[in-house]
Symmetry: C2
Subunit: 204 residues, 2 copies
């Protein structure tokens, strides 16, 4: 038996550095595991069912929806995407951490279904910095960049729903901050029921 | 203007390593300031009023008590000891952190008066380890050590009232854990009202 792992939810605008920070966290905390999403879109060449995604049909996905089987889900264009509860809860119960990189809508769904989750919002220090990063990627058109910037501004209203705010000015500092959040959350007394029971035994 | 500092409360049995850990935190976080307690006992040789303690009379202390002027207080033998709110709140408002090393009774008083405080409990991994540490200090009699061990066991019941539990098995790990707690708490979104307002300006 062990205490539950952490369900870590990371959000932030495109260009905030979420992916790089999450990769660094995974390196530092080997106990972080991936969750596998379920989707109704077709596999792309090389994608493996049960590794990249669980691929399924619309009918099956909608049946699972009626069973409240997802921590969060969304319909993007004509396809469903969702995080099945079952696998995530099983991992958490085994004491493993699960990290989800999802948007605000998804994060709010997770918070409702699993209030003990740890919500982290990552954001560059200013619109100018975010714009420079998006332009530096040379992947988005001016229109797409303008849309992302407007979205980033609007989404700041949601920060207060998150537990932690990490302003990614310097990447290494942001990684240290995010790592400190996980290390601290691992020490939260209200999560450590099992550990405290063991401690009491050691003091008998 | 800045966001409030953290009011950090550290408790744990005598021999837990609180002093060493708090000293290490103060070195690492120059923003941590001492609070100065008020007492009715007489100054010892070399103690300076306003530096080591605020020394005052019984009458004055009791008058302050009626004004709810203390974050926490206790009467030990015939003398009062207390943490005046005024100085602490002023420092916090200036964005400075205040760290208090106090017992459980004091910590619970602080939590009631200032619920945003960060409560950290530090404890050795077992009674045997605690006993070895107490014996290693060569300062306490067998009776005193027995009393401290019994108290440490009984006080484990209070851990659930604390925010964080740090098991001081290896001192360096415990220091890293405590430092992570402070670093994470500095990123709590609900404390960063001012920082978030600045951020929103940067995204206009």
């Amino acid at each position: 038996m062990s205490d539950s792992g952490l369900l870590i939810v990371v959000s932030g605008p495109s260009g905030a550095g979420k992916g790089t920070i999450c990769d660094a966290l995974r390196q530092r905390f080997p106990n972080i595991h991936y969750s596998i999403s379920m989707t109704t879109r077709n596999p792309r060449p090389g994608e493996v069912n049960g590794t990249n995604y669980y691929f399924t049909t619309n009918e099956h996905f909608e049946e699972l929806l009626t069973q409240d089987a997802f921590l969060e889900h969304a319909k993007v264009y004509d396809h469903y995407y969702g995080t099945p509860k079952k696998y995530v809860y099983q991992m958490l119960q085994e004491g493993k951490h699960i990290m989800l990189e999802i948007d605000i809508q998804g994060a709010m769904q997770v918070k409702e279904k699993y209030p003990q989750c740890v919500l982290i919002y990552i954001v560059p220090p200013s619109k100018a910095v975010l714009e420079a990063r998006l332009r530096g990627r040379h992947t988005d058109s001016d229109e797409v960049i303008a849309g992302r910037l407007a979205k980033a501004s609007a989404e700041l209203e949601w920060i207060s729903k998150y537990d932690y705010l990490i302003i990614n000015d310097d990447l290494n500092t942001a990684i240290e901050d995010a790592a400190a959040v996980l290390q601290a959350e691992e020490k939260k007394a209200d999560r450590l029921t099992h550990r405290i029971a063991v401690l009491k035994e050691q003091y008998k």
